[in-house]
Symmetry: none
Subunit: 414 residues, 2 copies
C-alpha cells in the first residue's frame, strides 16, 4: 500500500508552526507497513486542495489529509471535499447529538457554527471523533482511499488510532517496508561510508542503506522493502551482525536510542557513578546526561569551569600547568577529570577543554581544538580533536565524543 499525506494550513506555509502531524502520520503508516511516497502542505484554498487531489488520486492507494475542519470561516476542507466528490451536505444525526450533549455538559450555548460541524458530505463514511467535535471522513475513488482528519494533533491521532490504522491493517496483506537504525558515534559520514563500502556492496538488492548524520552522531538506517520486508527481522539481524564486526567501538545503540541513555544504562549495569568537568561544552554534557529520567542514580554533578581560577579552586588544577601548557591542553583536561572524580566522589568522569568559537582561536589552537579526558578509576584516556562548524556544532560534537569515549573506556574498547 502506497500513501500520500496532505497538510492543509496557512500557519505552516508562513513558517509559524512546524507540521508535526505529517511526521507522526508517516511514522504510523511506516510502522504498519505502508509506504509514504509524498507529503505536501497547501493553503486553505479550494482550488489548491482540488489540484492536489487530482494529482494523487489514482497514483496512491491511500491519501491522508489533515486540517481545515474547524468551525471558523477559514476552514473550507469539508465543503471542498463535498464539491470534489459531487456530494451534497447532509446533517448527521449521531454527530449532532454528540455535539449537543458536549455543549450541554459544559453548560455552554451552542452556536450555528458548532451545529454545522455535524454536517457531512452525503455518501462519505463518517469517522466518529471521540476526542473533539469535527468528525473524520472517508471517501473512495478510482481505487484510492481519501481520509480527511482534523488538524488538532490529539484529535487527528485519536481518529488515526480508532479508525484509520485498524482499517488499513485489515486491507494490508504484506508489509512493504521494515526499518532498523544503527546509532554510531566517532566517525564522520564520509569516512564511515568508506569503512563500510564492502559491507554496503554485499547488501541484498531489496535492503537500502541511508546515512543520517547529526552533529557528532551518524545513524545508519537499513530499510527492507518489497520481498525482503516479509522476512526482514532475521535478514536485518544478520546484516547488523556483520556490521558489528567492522565498527564495534562506534555503535552505541539501535532505533533512536540516545547516547546519553546508552551511557546511563552502562553506568547502572556496572554500578558506576559519573561526574563531569566542563569548560568548552558549558554544561551540555550535564544537560544531556540529566535529560534521562532516573539519571540521579549514577550522575552526581558537574563543575562548569568557564574561567581558569575556577578550574584551580573547584577542580584542583595546578595554576602553573595552566600557565605553562594553556587551558586547552592534555595536562589541564587530565587534571580536570581527576579533580571531578575527587570533588564529586565518583569512579568515572568526563572533562572537556576547548575553543568553541567563533572567537578565541589562534594559529596554534584554532577554533574547534578540543581536549577531552575520560577516567574510570583504573585508566585515564585523553585525546585532542579538531571539530568544525558553528559554536553549537562544536559543543555537540565534543559532548557526544566525551560520552562515547567514556563508554569505550568502561567497555575496555579503546
Amino acid at each position: 500500500m502506497r500513501s500520500a499525506v496532505i497538510t492543509i494550513g496557512d500557519e505552516i506555509l508562513i513558517g509559524q508552526v512546524t507540521d508535526t502531524n505529517a511526521v507522526w502520520i508517516a511514522q504510523q503508516l511506516n510502522i504498519h507497513g505502508v509506504r509514504v511516497g509524498e507529503m505536501v502542505t497547501v493553503s486553505d484554498n479550494a482550488s489548491q486542495i482540488t489540484a492536489v487531489l487530482d494529482r494523487y488520486i489514482g497514483d496512491y492507494d491511500l491519501i491522508i489529509m489533515t486540517g481545515g475542519l474547524g468551525p471558523t470561516s477559514d476552514d473550507i476542507t469539508k465543503q471542498t471535499l463535498a464539491d470534489y466528490f459531487n456530494s451534497k451536505m447532509v446533517m448527521h444525526p449521531e454527530i449532532l447529538e454528540r455535539i449537543t450533549a458536549y455543549f450541554k455538559e459544559r453548560g455552554r450555548s451552542m452556536l450555528e457554527a458548532n451545529r454545522l460541524q455535524a454536517e457531512v458530505p452525503e455518501g462519505c463514511r463518517v469517522l466518529i471523533n471521540d476526542h473533539g467535535s469535527a468528525p473524520g471522513m472517508w471517501f473512495e475513488k478510482q481505487g484510492t482511499i481519501v481520509v480527511s482528519l482534523p488538524g488538532v494533533p490529539y484529535e487527528m491521532k485519536g481518529l488515526m488510532e480508532d479508525h484509520v490504522i485498524p482499517e488499513v491493517n485489515k486491507r494490508i496483506t504484506v508489509p512493504m517496508v521494515v526499518h532498523r537504525t544503527i546509532m554510531t558515534q566517532g566517525v564522520p559520514e564520509s569516512y564511515l561510508a568508506a569503512m563500510l563500502r564492502s559491507w554496503e556492496k554485499a547488501l541484498p538488492e531489496c535492503v537500502k542503506l541511508a546515512y543520517l548524520p547529526r552533529p557528532g552522531i551518524v545513524r545508519l538506517r537499513l530499510t527492507a522493502v518489497d520481498k525482503c520486508a516479509g522476512e526482514a527481522g532475521q535478514l536485518l539481524e544478520g546484516i547488523i551482525g556483520k556490521l558489528l564486526k567492522i565498527i564495534p567501538e562506534h555503535i552505541f545503540g539501535y532505533d533512536e536510542m540516545t547516547l546519553e541513555e546508552s551511557l546511563g544504562n552502562l553506568l547502572k549495569e556496572k554500578e558506576l557513578t559519573l561526574a563531569s568537568a566542563e569548560s568548552c561544552t558549558g554544561g551540555n554534557i550535564a544537560r544531556l546526561v540529566t535529560s534521562v529520567p532516573g539519571s540521579s542514580a549514577y550522575y552526581t554533578g558537574s563543575v562548569i569551569a568557564y574561567n581558569n581560577r575556577i578550574k584551580t579552586e573547584l577542580l584542583g588544577v595546578d595554576p602553573s600547568v595552566i600557565k605553562e601548557k594553556g587551558a586547552v591542553s592534555r595536562e589541564v583536561v587530565e587534571q580536570m577529570a581527576s579533580g571531578a572524580c575527587k570533588a564529586f566522589g565518583t569512579q568515572t568522569s568526563i572533562a572537556t577543554s576547548g575553543i568553541a568559537g567563533p572567537d578565541g582561536g589562534t594559529d596554534e589552537k584554532p577554533v574547534g581544538t578540543t581536549w577531552i579526558c575520560v577516567q574510570n578509576g583504573i585508566r585515564s584516556y585523553a585525546a585532542k580533536y579538531s571539530f568544525s562548524g558553528t559554536r553549537e556544532r562544536i559543543i555537540d560534537q565534543a559532548s557526544y565524543t566525551g560520552m562515547q569515549l567514556l563508554r569505550r573506556l568502561i567497555l575496555g574498547n579503546i
Copy 2:
C-alpha cells in the same frame, strides 16, 4: 514573489526526522516578503524530483530544494538536476580547492566521494558553501529560479543567509507580508491572551496576531499583510508601544532574540558577572548561557549539584537545613544562590532546585515543583513554581524562568 519549497529525503517520509528545514525556509521567505504557496517532501528518487519540478516551474517564481547533496550514493539530487537542465557535470576548481584545503587542515585524507562534491552541473550558478563541502546551486528556467541546497540544517541556513536571501532582497520590489515578533516569558499562552484581549481587539484588520508558545516562552507574531505591508514599520512600532505598556516585565526581546542573548547583553551592559547552581535544571541554564558567543566575558561557571552532599561541599548549603526543609525548598535554593556567588566570585547568580520527574514527586511536592532563586549582590529573590509537562518541558520552563527572573531583578522590575 511566490515560492515553493521541496524537501528531498526518505528519512522524512518514513517519519524518522521532522522536516525543520522547510519551516525555517518558510519563515525566512515570509520575513523577507516572499509568500510560500506549497511545501512538498519527496523521496530520493530522480523521477519523483523531476515530476515535482515540472509541476512547479512556471507556476512559482522561486523554488527552494533541500537535501540529497551529500557524498554518499543515496544522494542523487545533483545528478538529477544536471539531467533535468540538460547540463553535463564539470569539476569546479574553487570548490575542489576548498575541499582539498579543508581535509589538509584537518590532516585527513580526501576520498573520491569528497572530490566528487566539487563537481557541479555546467551552467548553473554555484553558491559557495562556507559551512560544509556541498555547494548550493542556482538555476533559472521559464522565469522560475530553482535553488538546490544541502539538507544539513546549518549548511542550508548558511547558504540561505549568505546567498539566497540577499539575492531575493535585490529582486523583490514590494513586500507582500511583513512580520514582527515580540518575545515574552513568564505568562502561559491562555493567560497572556486574556491579558491582551482589548489590545488585540484594537488591531487593524490587515494586521494579524499569532500566539506561538514554546516551553517557558510565548512569541507574539504580528503580521502586516496587503495594504498594511507597505507602511508596516511605523504601524507595528505603534502597536508594540501599546503592548509594552501592558506587559513590560514579560517582554525580553524581539524577532527571535533568545532570552540567553538578552540576559547576556544586560550583564555586559551593567558589567556584572554570573554563576549558576543547578539541581533540577541539570546544566541546562549553563548550556543556554554559554551557547551565546562571548559569554565567557560575564559567565564564570556553574555547579551542577545532583546530590545533596555536593550542595553542601561545593556550595556551602547547611546540611541541617536540607534535612529539615528538604532539598526543594526556599532555604536551600537561597543558600545555593549565595554559595554560587561566593564559590565563583560573581555579583549575580541563578539557583534551581525542583522535581523534574517523571519519578520523585510526593503529595506535598508533586513533579514540577521548583524553587528558583536569583541574586544580584543587593537583593535576593526566591519563588516557588509548579511547572507541568514532561521532564524536558519542566527543565526548559525552570531554566527560562530563572534567566528572566534575574533580568527583572537587575532591571528592578520585580
